[in-house]
């Protein structure tokens, strides 16, 4: 039919197409191809049989059919003393125990040591996302939460790495992890981050993620204090494809211990899927195998929760909940948990914020593993969930929820001085060890630069040469300490020594160790003792204050001093001459403008940044052009827009008036109307222009001629004006209400504009 409506698309879909979310691609659930978060038909049912104290079968597999992972778990993870009891318990009952604040953590940890991977999965998959977060908060090993930073550089620039490591340490990151764009730069990157993180208070643990053997050598030279690159996988084929076995990895973990270096393993949902050997099992089941394996290896902790597999995991239904469940399994097994939140799993900032929130409010040994403290393009691991760009968003979330994400805001001047000190320190070390001589221009550009695209510094090739020389000459941390001290960086030299000394006692090898205020905090001496409200980790008043001090807070003094900056300029433009109590008007075309108590006396600008003289002038111009006569009364009895307007209308000869507050909110009112039933209102002062005020004046005048003019509409683009202005508005309004005197009548005010000499 010819009159059929022809519309082929609702354009809202085009709007949605343009949003960052649409860059994310989502996968269909397909267990046969490994796309299943919590459950797959190929997952085994929980089961364990013991014969003569030995494990005869586990999760449906007979002992002689065990693959390497099964065998390792049976040999080193499962505790035959506890297993019969733990495996016999109803999974629903154990799930309830996990969220029961009266069941102690120790009891649950003990039970986990007797559970097979399938049993652990059967329990945690019964919890919804909130229950998982709650259980995580209760089960994480160390009471005090912490965080880890990535400090990397697209140019592998030692100067910028040092500066960025110093800022990361200044923000309070407990650990800093680096890696390289060019593998040959490993030693230089390690040296640079180490020196940078020694600026300020000591205690930042540091690792350099590189090839296994080299990482251990860098550690032995005293440059690094921990390692987390010991990757494990949930299927045998993935493991052997990664050129390792559970035994080789466990051997490596013991080797790190023997060198006094803190170590954790790495695993995470989606790894086996990406490697192509998923055996059609669910992500969570495979991860449970990884975690049982890690506990059996005797490593103190894990980095899990997606990790490199986070983006693919997040593409699957329930993927984000699955990552939370993985982390819960880790801490339930009593492993330190560096809980992922590293690989950027989405382009949507909303999904980023939602991803981090459960961890932020539950706390975690290391909330991110790590947080990209540098810009996205400088992250040699690939962008993190949070990056240098979003640092202040994270700091604000901490403040919003009064939740300790392990970070502390630092004043801009302090960040700059940390950078200067770090660049000077690494330059001194490079010179003293005869490795390189950074020029003044290089230092200056690095100190100021937000990212490596802005720097004039060493080329990556030059840095590789520096790095190879560090290695070839066998330079170690003692040489660095001596170089620092010789060049006047004694505090930094002392800080470095403190870090290396940690390995002598080995205290920091215990589960969940970090350094705070020069002391070790671990699951041994700072155990999570959550048992309901009032227990577990709580912010102290001092810590709350630290978290609250984000940048550019405003208070009354900031508002007053901001307004005072405009006082002199305004006094040159306008004078307000009070004339005593105002009479009622008689002119039938009069429009009274009722100004608020502080208008032009303590406040000089609207929230749109318009001078009040200009605003008043625009209103008067409008009234005049509309055929009206303006009269100005200062109100003392009220600062409320509606009552300013209504009083103005009542005092006006025409019965029409305008009320305006100093912040710019304005109204046209009419005598006899209900206070909040006005004729026109500009409620969004921050986006109201002089043209709008002039239009309002004209309309008010037209009302006096018996017309019903088209209302002036202030168009909004949907800005969150409340977020931008309400703190300021409330403070400004308090200044106005502070000046009100309910018994004082409206005052006739003669206004003179200096530029035109016009009066009103």
């Amino acid at each position: 039919m010819s009159d059929t409506i022809q519309v082929n698309r609702w354009r809202r879909y085009s709007d949605w197409d343009g949003r960052p979310l649409r860059l994310d691609r989502f996968a269909k659930e397909d267990p046969a191809n490994g796309f299943a978060a919590f459950k797959s038909p190929a997952d085994p049912s929980p089961g364990l049989t013991l014969a003569a104290g030995r494990i005869a079968s586990m999760d449906g597999v007979l002992a002689h059919d065990f693959d390497m992972i099964d065998a390792f778990i049976a040999e080193y993870h499962l505790d035959p003393q506890i297993a019969p009891e733990a495996m016999a318990m109803d999974s629903g009952e154990v799930a309830r125990m996990l969220v029961d604040m009266h069941v102690p953590r120790e009891r649950l940890v003990q039970l986990a040591h007797g559970m097979t991977p399938a049993k652990l999965v059967d329990v945690v998959s019964r919890l919804n996302a909130m229950e998982i977060a709650f259980a995580y908060s209760k089960m994480r090993p160390r009471k005090t939460p912490g965080n880890q930073a990535h400090v990397t550089n697209a140019k592998d620039d030692p100067l910028q790495l040092a500066a960025d490591a110093a800022v990361a340490a200044g923000h309070g990151f407990d650990e800093v992890e680096t890696t390289m764009r060019v593998a040959r730069c490993a030693w230089s990157n390690a040296l640079a981050c180490l020196v940078g993180s020694s600026v300020g208070e000591w205690g930042t643990l540091f690792q350099c993620s590189s090839e296994e053997a080299e990482e251990l050598r860098i550690g032995m030279a005293g440059f690094t204090s921990y390692a987390e690159t010991v990757s494990v996988y949930g299927t045998e084929r993935s493991f052997t494809d990664g050129d390792d076995t559970p035994w080789s990895k466990a051997f490596l973990v013991a080797a790190y211990a023997s060198r006094g270096i803190k170590a954790r393993c790495t695993s995470g949902g989606g790894a086996e899927l990406l490697m192509g050997y998923h055996e059609a099992k669910s992500l969570l089941y495979l991860e449970a195998r990884c975690l049982c394996l890690q506990r059996g290896m005797g490593v103190q902790g894990t980095q899990n929760g997606g990790i490199d597999g986070a983006p693919i995991t997040a593409s699957i239904a329930g993927g984000m909940r699955e990552m939370m469940a993985e982390n819960l399994l880790a801490v339930w097994l009593d492993l330190e948990c560096a809980s992922g939140n590293d690989a950027r799993a989405t382009e949507s900032e909303i999904r980023v914020g939602a991803k981090i929130l459960p961890y932020l409010i539950a706390g975690s040994d290391l909330i991110c593993s790590g947080f990209g403290s540098i810009l996205k393009y400088d992250n040699s691991f690939n962008p993190s969930l949070f990056n240098g760009e979003e640092m202040e968003d994270f700091l604000t979330l901490q403040r919003d929820f009064e939740a300790d994400g392990g970070l502390t805001p630092i004043p801009e001047a302090e960040a700059l001085s940390l950078r200067i000190r770090a660049v000077e320190a690494i330059s001194a070390v490079l010179e003293e060890l005869d490795l390189a001589s950074p020029t003044q221009a290089m230092k200056t550009s690095v100190i100021a630069a937000s990212g490596s695209r802005e720097t004039q510094t060493f080329s990556t090739g030059e840095t590789a040469r520096i790095s190879e020389e560090i290695q070839a000459r066998g330079i170690n941390v003692i040489d660095v300490i001596k170089a620092l001290a010789k060049r006047g960086f004694r505090p930094e030299a002392g800080n470095l020594l403190q870090i290396v000394k940690l390995r002598v006692s080995g205290d920091y090898l215990q589960t969940s160790s970090i350094i705070r205020q020069g002391r070790i905090l671990s699951a041994v001496n700072d155990p999570n003792d959550y048992g309901g409200p009032g227990t577990g980790y709580r912010l102290t008043d001092a810590r709350k204050e630290e978290i609250n001090e984000i940048r550019d807070l405003i208070g009354q003094s900031e508002v007053l001093s901001d307004q005072a900056r405009h006082r002199r300029a305004e006094s040159r433009r306008i004078t307000y001459a009070p004339q005593g109590e105002a009479p009622k008007g008689a002119n039938p075309h009069e429009v009274v403008i009722g100004i608020s108590p502080a208008f032009g006396l303590q406040l000089y600008q609207t929230t749109a940044g318009l001078a009040l003289s200009d605003v008043l002038s625009a209103l008067i111009r409008g009234i005049t052009s509309g055929g009206g006569v303006a009269r100005i009364l200062r109100m003392h009895h009220t600062a409320d827009t509606s009552f300013l307007g209504l009083t103005a209308a009542e005092m006006s000869g025409s019965g029409f008036g305008i009320g305006i507050q100093a912040k710019g909110t304005a109204v046209i009112h009419q005598r006899g109307r209900m206070p909040h039933n006005n004729l026109e209102l500009f409620s969004n002062a921050p986006i109201t222009t002089l043209a709008h005020y002039e239009g309002m004046g004209r309309n008010a005048a037209r009302w006096t001629h018996g017309e019903r003019p088209e209302p002036v509409v202030v168009p909004t683009d949907g800005q969150a004006l409340g977020a931008r202005f309400h703190a300021q508005v409330a403070l400004i309004y308090a200044i106005e209400t502070g000046l009100t005197d309910p018994s004082r009548p409206p005052e006739e005010t003669f206004v003179t504009f200096a530029d035109t000499g016009a009066k009103a």
Partner: protein
């Protein structure tokens, strides 16, 4: 004989600094910046000792972390093992590197004999059984 350590002894650097010593016998208090600058402290003094790892193993066991304790005990046995030998043994444990279980068992015997590494030896012997069973020995 010394008593078994518990969680209450943690951290050792605070509870017993005089008993914590580096690889060449220097106590923690002697490891000062001055001593480093005068050349009295080298990287060797900053190495962990088997004693420290065994002490940490006791603390871990008391804290209910037997698997962690065993890792510390394996680590204690590796302290004296040179870096090259560690990397060589690690290489042998990687998939398909050794042709038959006998090679792994020989390495286990060598570690037991030359370094008193009883736990590590057992660990390697267990690996050999499973490597053989799973066909990781191509020969």
């Amino acid at each position: 004989m010394r008593r078994t350590l518990t969680r209450a002894d943690f951290p050792l650097a605070e509870t017993a600094p005089d008993q914590v010593q580096g690889a060449r016998g220097k106590p923690l208090e002697a490891l000062t910046l001055e001593a480093v600058l005068q050349g009295d402290v080298t990287i060797e003094d900053l190495r962990i000792t088997p004693q420290a790892l065994l002490a940490q193993a006791e603390i871990a066991r008391d804290a209910g972390r037997a698997a962690l304790a065993e890792n510390f005990e394996r680590g204690a046995e590796l302290v004296a093992v040179p870096q090259e030998l560690i990397m060589e043994t690690y290489e042998m444990l990687r998939p398909g590197r050794v042709k038959d279980a006998g090679v792994l068992r020989e390495r286990a015997a060598m570690l037991r004999r030359d370094y008193g590494a009883e736990k590590l030896a057992e660990f390697l012997e267990t690996a050999a059984i499973h490597y053989q069973r799973r066909g990781l020995m191509p020969g």
